[in-house]
């Protein structure tokens, strides 16, 4: 292996380096200086994110087990940027008494999970795929149970680890059938034929992956885990974990499972309708904001499937663009929820009554985030949904398109409920004025800039579209 081949894996090397630096710091630093770990982690993560945008080459290493190309690098960069925002948002929570001496664990587990994400996206062999998937999930289960004196947190951890173990068992059962049909696990010469065994294997495989994206028949763990986990872990689950699973689903469906496209289109057609509708209908009746965002993220996953069902380069580009927008919008919303939760402990929508009078900037951020999630025109979320709908229309599923548009209206209703609570409803006891710290401000600024810039600056989508055409 030569030096240039090693450099193809630079995202992973950088993250492994960050993990090692964090371990060394944990050993060498005294308890009073633990705050420095937060600063170091944020700065290094920012450097890694920027370094990731270095022009990428395509290539394969380890005999084809690891594949990289500009599109995969872009996917990794999107998720790295998301993790940077989550790091910035976690400072207040980790600085609390009782949390401070365990601060490094949080960063270490999050970074190892991110390494899993990177390997998952770059997998060129199903073994790498499986290891990446487990490396992504297991640290997050430990993080969901991070608040050790709250039984809700442990409950979330249990629900996450058991459902993810169950889902990966289903996924592997499907994979073993596919292996039986083909006799090969490399992505390069994985040529499926349209036999009963492959279709059965695919259904099992897809069900396992659907757990991670929380597509509807497999979504039952989502709301509970999102509610019980610490808010930062929830945002990681809803953005990075789901985003990476979507990316890998797109890559697999568009390359390996291309030969059985009619089968997966039928599967996606049904699940997309179910996911959008059930996610939206359950989101309406939620009072807890974390549960609310959980169901909203289930509905968003349904919209993502609209782009996947297209099966061509436009569909792929719209999915990548939508996830990019979704990362920023959702992290802005979770950032505000986190800031309010850390200052007051309040999480219900009713608690946000009169929020605008006391915290105008935070409520404007929340409004932009929710409008972007709902898809209001000048914001990025509108264009995300617009491209997804274009993809569905191009593939000719007009009934599906109609259902999706109706669902957008339902979604607008419940997003506006929160906005109404913040701006119109009066409250005797509004949330007091919150002075968020510098890191939180930077993270919200980054997220809002993302929402606005991606909406107004069209070359981003053109760039993604070009990459997807050559994929």
């Amino acid at each position: 292996m030569t030096w240039s081949e090693l450099l193809l894996m630079r995202h992973e090397w950088a993250l492994i380096g960050l993990a090692l630096v964090l371990i060394m710091l944990e050993i060498g630093i005294s308890d009073e200086q633990k705050n420095r770990i937060h600063v170091v982690a944020c700065l290094l993560m920012a450097a890694i994110t920027l370094f990731g945008f270095w022009p990428a080459e395509s290539g394969k290493i380890f005999g084809g087990m690891y594949i990289t190309d500009p599109l995969r690098v872009l996917m990794k960069n999107i998720l790295n940027a998301g993790v940077l925002i989550i790091f910035l948002q976690s400072s207040v929570w980790l600085g609390k008494a009782g949390m401070k001496n365990r601060m490094t664990e949080f960063y270490l587990l999050l970074v190892s999970s991110l390494i899993g994400v990177n390997y998952l996206i770059s997998a060129g062999h199903f073994l790498m795929f499986y290891i990446g998937l487990e490396l992504l999930t297991i640290p997050i289960a430990a993080l969901a149970a991070y608040e050790q004196y709250q039984s809700k947190s442990a409950e979330a951890g249990i629900k996450l680890i058991l459902s993810s173990a169950f889902s990966s068992a289903i996924l592997l059962f499907g994979l073993s059938m596919l292996y039986g049909a083909i006799g090969n696990l490399y992505f390069t010469d994985f040529s499926l034929t349209d036999s009963l065994l492959t279709i059965l294997g695919f259904i099992f495989f897809f069900s396992g992956l659907a757990f991670k994206i929380s597509i509807v028949p497999f979504h039952l763990w989502t709301a509970d885990v999102y509610e019980g986990s610490p808010t930062n872990v929830t945002s990681y689950l809803s953005v990075i974990s789901k985003g990476s699973a979507v990316f890998v689903l797109v890559i697999l469906l568009f390359t390996l499972f291309r030969t059985i496209q009619p089968v997966w289109q039928a599967v996606l057609y049904a699940t997309a309708i179910l996911t959008m509708t059930i996610g939206n209908l359950f989101a309406i009746r939620q009072q807890n904001l974390k549960r609310f965002l959980a169901f909203s993220s289930i509905a968003q996953a349904g919209f993502i499937l609209l782009g996947v069902i297209h099966g061509g380069s436009l569909g792929m580009a719209s999915v990548v663009y939508f996830v990019l927008v979704y990362v920023f919008s959702n992290l802005a919303a979770f950032g505000v929820v986190q800031a309010v939760e850390q200052a007051t402990g309040k999480l219900n929508i009713d608690d946000y009554n009169g929020f605008y009078n006391t915290n105008p900037r935070l409520s404007l951020t929340m409004m932009l985030a929710l409008f972007s999630l709902a898809g209001i025109p000048p914001l990025a979320g509108f264009f995300g949904k617009f491209f997804l709908f274009t993809a569905v229309a191009e593939s000719g599923f007009y009934t599906l398109l109609l259902i999706a548009v109706l669902n957008t209206v339902i979604a607008l209703y419940y997003y506006l409920l929160v906005v109404k609570a913040m701006f119109i409803n009066k409250s005797e006891l509004p949330v007091p004025v919150i002075a968020s710290d510098g890191a939180m401000r930077i993270s919200l600024l980054l997220a809002v800039t993302g929402i606005l810039v991606l909406g107004f600056y069209s070359p981003v989508f053109d760039y993604i579209n070009e990459l997807c055409k050559t994929f």
Partner: protein
């Protein structure tokens, strides 16, 4: 000797094991037993991989390697899961899944 057992018999055993594991996972009340159900499912997958390797593709060892990695990762998963169970036990003095119901629809 093993060649006298056809592949379909091995696959029947593994499928049966998989669904017994899934049934156990879905019906048991004790969290540790639920974990055992998952292990049963993973072992069914291992049998599948090794059997396909032995009967259909005897020249390759892809399936054997996959089975080894599944065993290793299942152990890691079980370790984290049991750590979380212990944490839950310290909080609510029980590992009955019926007690884990703080959050519901």
């Amino acid at each position: 000797m093993i060649d006298q057992v056809p592949l379909s018999h091995v696959l029947s055993v593994s499928s049966l094991m998989f669904f017994i594991g899934a049934y156990g996972f879905l019906t048991r009340k004790n969290l540790v037993t639920m974990l055992i159900g998952v292990e049963l499912m993973l072992n069914a997958v291992n049998i599948n991989f090794v059997a396909f390797d032995r009967y259909l593709y005897p020249s390759g060892i892809n399936g054997h390697f996959f089975a080894l990695f599944i065993i290793a990762i299942a152990a890691a998963e079980a370790a984290v899961a049991i750590a979380i169970f212990i944490n839950l036990y310290r909080n609510i003095r029980s590992i009955d899944v019926e007690e884990v119901d703080k959050m519901k629809y």
